[in-house]
Subunit: 149 residues, 2 copies
């Protein structure tokens, strides 16, 4: 059996490829994974560019580039931070929320298909198992999201 990291990488890529293909098939502009993760992050909490970089596991400069793109494309906008005059909150526009909603449906389809392929309980074990491992390794401060290659 392949070592665990290889299985993780291959599965990650397999799912990502499918996601990407279907998105294009439907005609929706396929953003990069990072963009999607930013959307998901922003839905949960108000965040600055620095926060985003930390969440993704990249430098703030790299995060700034991503935010700039999303801004240009109309998915997010910046608004002044209420108390800190240096900082800006990045927030989702309606377009951004719509994209996220669509992508979420697609992901849920894919996950459902995975459940059909390997069984619901197996999938559930995988999810909770990985989550538990992450909790065990990193405690509450999450590791970077980006899988360094």
């Amino acid at each position: 059996m392949e070592p665990v990291p290889m299985l993780l990488a291959m599965t990650y890529r397999a799912m990502g490829d499918q996601f990407h293909d279907r998105l294009r098939q439907i005609g929706l502009e396929p953003l990069r994974p990072a963009h999607g993760y930013v959307f998901r992050f922003l839905k949960e909490k108000r965040a600055t560019t620095v926060d985003i970089g930390q969440h993704l596991g990249v430098t703030k400069q790299a995060a700034a580039k991503i935010v700039n793109e999303l801004d240009e494309w109309g998915y997010v906008l910046r608004e002044p931070h209420p108390t800190d005059k240096r900082a800006q909150y990045v927030t989702l526009t309606t377009k951004g929320r719509d994209y996220l909603k669509f992508a979420d449906n697609l992901w849920s389809d894919l996950e459902h298909e995975m459940a059909e392929a390997i069984g619901e309980t197996t999938l559930d074990t995988i999810k909770t198992g990985l989550a538990e491992y992450l909790q065990h390794v990193h405690g509450d401060d999450q590791p970077g999201l980006r899988p360094v290659w």
Copy 2:
């Protein structure tokens, strides 16, 4: 619960980071993941640069760069292909095999610790579950190994 791909990416990165840290801690030069995957691939079968690229999920040119590095560092060498005068087999040197052996031990340590953290049966379910999913999605032609970010 986080969506599956995020869990995969985070776990992949978490394990990779630990691997990298320990390797450095011990004083061994930490190669990139790609190099390790090449070693593991070459242990299994004789392969050309093109084969390697396919296995990694990158172009042959990218694979050639990696092979060049490994050659310069003394981990692999090229030998003429017995029947095809264009091609070359890339093979592990002793240094390469030693590195692989060492890395394999380290991986097995990490996997063992994972088993302790989440339970052996859970880990087993994860491995077979992911393998089954990959089989279901891709049949026998493997997806690229590189997790596209």
